[in-house]
């Protein structure tokens, strides 16, 4: 199986990605994760302003066969939510690194990003699964 990867993103071992854009961190799930979930039918996004803690469950993604928690890859307050997902949750499947992003947060500790896997390390992780 060939998966898509975003060269500019950092990854968690639990298959979330982070991309730092203009001081904010965009968070989503990887192509591998969306593929394993199958068709996403609902994304329960955290409230604006909610403080996410790295490694803690912060939202739930429901697919036709499962409901899985998303773990925050970095800590920070939610400043933006992808409201398009309410009407079109399938964006998570179609474009996991683009239109299927989940939330944007203000980074409370930018060093957390560096401790995540780079694309080469994440690619290697996925290959072993």
């Amino acid at each position: 199986m060939e998966y898509r990867f975003d060269e500019k993103a950092r990854y968690s071992k639990t298959h979330e990605w982070v991309r730092v854009e203009g001081g904010q961190a965009v968070i989503g799930i990887s192509d591998y994760a969306q593929n394993k979930l199958s068709d996403v039918v609902f994304v329960e996004l955290p409230a604006l302003g909610k403080e996410l803690r790295a490694g803690a469950a912060c939202m739930v993604i429901e697919s036709v066969k499962a409901a899985e928690e998303v773990f925050a890859p970095v800590s920070g307050a939610v400043v933006s939510r992808n409201e398009k997902l309410e009407k079109a949750p399938e964006l998570v499947n179609k474009d996991p690194f683009g239109d299927g992003w989940l939330v944007k947060v203000t980074l409370s500790d930018p060093r957390e990003v560096d401790s995540l896997l780079d694309v080469a390390a994440y690619r290697k992780l996925v290959e072993t699964l």
């Binding site: 039918v41 609902f42 329960e44 429901e62 499962a66 409901a67 928690e69």
Partner: protein, 450 residues
């Protein structure tokens, strides 16, 4: 033929494994003389004789079919059209189980879907689940749903003292250990205004009942007011109702309720010593993912034909495990089917007629009792139950009513509300004839004043 699958050799191996030499040793803690006691059984009798004996025993019960009854307090005696029993007794439907395989359960799933549609219309809500166990579990599940909506940040639950005492007890049982403050029912006379006053930004929900346990109706304007105040705090308003009363009263869904729950027994289910019963549970669409229980949905199959499935199962335990919205993954299918058959056979006009009969008969009885010396009827708008202050204890009155007049009297409120001494909760339904009510009133007069 042996029905025990393991052999003597198997048993020996098991005993050896646990280091016991004989099966008898496992029972050493039971004193010898109690191990095989002589059972002093009567000689065997024929089926005909045993049926006669059981029938004689059953006749010693005072059942509502043969005894005038003015007892309600949560379970109500209504006429059940024969078609209800016919439908629920069909072998295709005759299972208490909630189906898991839509391929072989289309009839049951459609029946649940029809039940949900009727409950949603009756309560004025957008969605109904497939039912819970009874009014008490539905109320407790509504509280859990409100806690989920508040993402478990809101730790306060306000209960009106007019909510059925059993429902309040079950809410407390359900939520024990969750670190909540369940309050509002300490003062037995608190009205909607006082209940609303207890709602704050830490409150998950406010629960009221109308008609309440004492039969009193919360005026539509008061309920609307309450809903506004509760919503201003960001909490949910849960309203427990008697479904029969909705034949006459404005459904709480039209007055701002977020969840409408209640005991569904009155809809085509016999009182049957208090169960089995069903609890209905209806709510607004925007909370559907936080809701409890199972939900049947209408869909189309690959060929485009209409079909029914259980939907939104990702809320439930078999998928979401410990994060499920509720511990209940089943429903009261057969009881819900009886409710659907009942509502279908009555139709909107029939239900209105039943509600009118209940209202008129209860008000006729109240007017008669209010004229009796020593008795007063508590003021206020009521549906088919009302509180009577009596000249003596209700337990004693009820004993006289039954022993001398063959009448089952009302509910003794002191058993649940210690301050309500000598208070009888009287109920009338369409089953109480005018003649019965007249006899009840004169029997009360006699029993109260001797």
């Amino acid at each position: 033929m042996s029905f025990i699958p393991n052999t003597a050799a198997d048993r020996d191996r098991m005993l050896e494994a646990i280091g016991v030499s004989a099966v008898g040793d496992l029972f050493r803690d039971v004193p010898q003389e109690h191990r095989f006691p002589r059972l002093e059984l009567l000689p065997a009798v024929s089926e005909q004789e045993i049926l006669k004996e059981l029938d004689d025993l059953a006749r010693r019960n005072a059942d509502c079919g043969h005894t005038p009854c003015f007892l309600g307090a949560g379970a109500y005696h209504h006429f059940i059209p024969s078609v209800v029993d016919f439908v629920v007794s069909r072998s295709e439907f005759y299972t208490a189980y909630t189906p898991y395989q839509p391929e072989i359960s289309q009839g049951t799933l459609q029946a649940i879907f029809e039940y949900q549609s009727m409950i949603a219309r009756l309560t004025g809500m957008e969605v109904s689940n497939a039912s819970h166990y009874d009014g008490a579990t539905s109320t407790a599940e509504a509280v859990i749903m409100a806690l989920n909506v508040g993402q478990h940040q809101r730790k306060r639950v306000v209960l009106s003292p007019g909510v059925h005492p059993h429902y309040r007890e079950v809410v407390r049982t359900y939520t024990q250990g969750m670190g909540l403050q369940v309050t509002g029912d300490e003062k037995p006379d608190a009205g909607p205004d006082q209940t609303a006053g207890l709602c704050d930004s830490s409150t998950a929900c406010v629960v009221v009942q109308s008609p309440d346990f004492f039969g009193r109706i919360i005026a539509p304007s008061a309920l609307e007011d309450l809903a506004k105040k509760v919503h201003a705090c960001g909490a949910l308003l849960v309203v427990a109702v008697n479904p029969i009363s909705l034949g006459l009263l404005i459904p709480p869904g039209e007055l701002g309720a977020d969840v409408v729950v209640g005991e569904g027994q009155a809809l085509g289910n016999a009182m049957a010593f208090g169960g089995p019963s069903l609890g209905f549970f209806a709510f607004r669409k925007d909370q559907i993912r936080r809701s409890s229980g199972r939900i049947a949905g209408e869909s189309t199959d690959r060929a485009g034909s209409r079909g029914y499935v259980f939907t939104l199962s990702t809320r439930e335990q078999h998928i979401r495990r410990d994060k499920a919205t509720s511990n209940i993954c089943t429903n009261q299918s057969l009881n819900a089917l009886a409710a659907a058959a009942y509502l279908t056979s009555l139709g909107p006009r029939g239900l209105r007629r039943v509600a009118e009969l209940c209202w008129h008969k209860a008000h006729y009885a109240a007017a008669g009792i209010a004229r009796l010396p020593g008795f007063t009827v508590e003021p206020g708008e009521f549906f088919h139950e009302f509180v009577v202050r009596c000249p003596r204890g209700v337990a004693e009155l009820n004993r006289r009513l039954y022993d001398r007049h063959g009448i089952i009297g009302g509910f003794d409120l002191v058993t649940q509300y210690p301050e309500r001494k000598n208070c009888m909760l009287v109920c009338c339904t369409e089953m109480n004839s005018r003649d019965e009510i007249d006899r009840f009133v004169s029997a009360l007069e006699e029993a109260g004043n001797e």
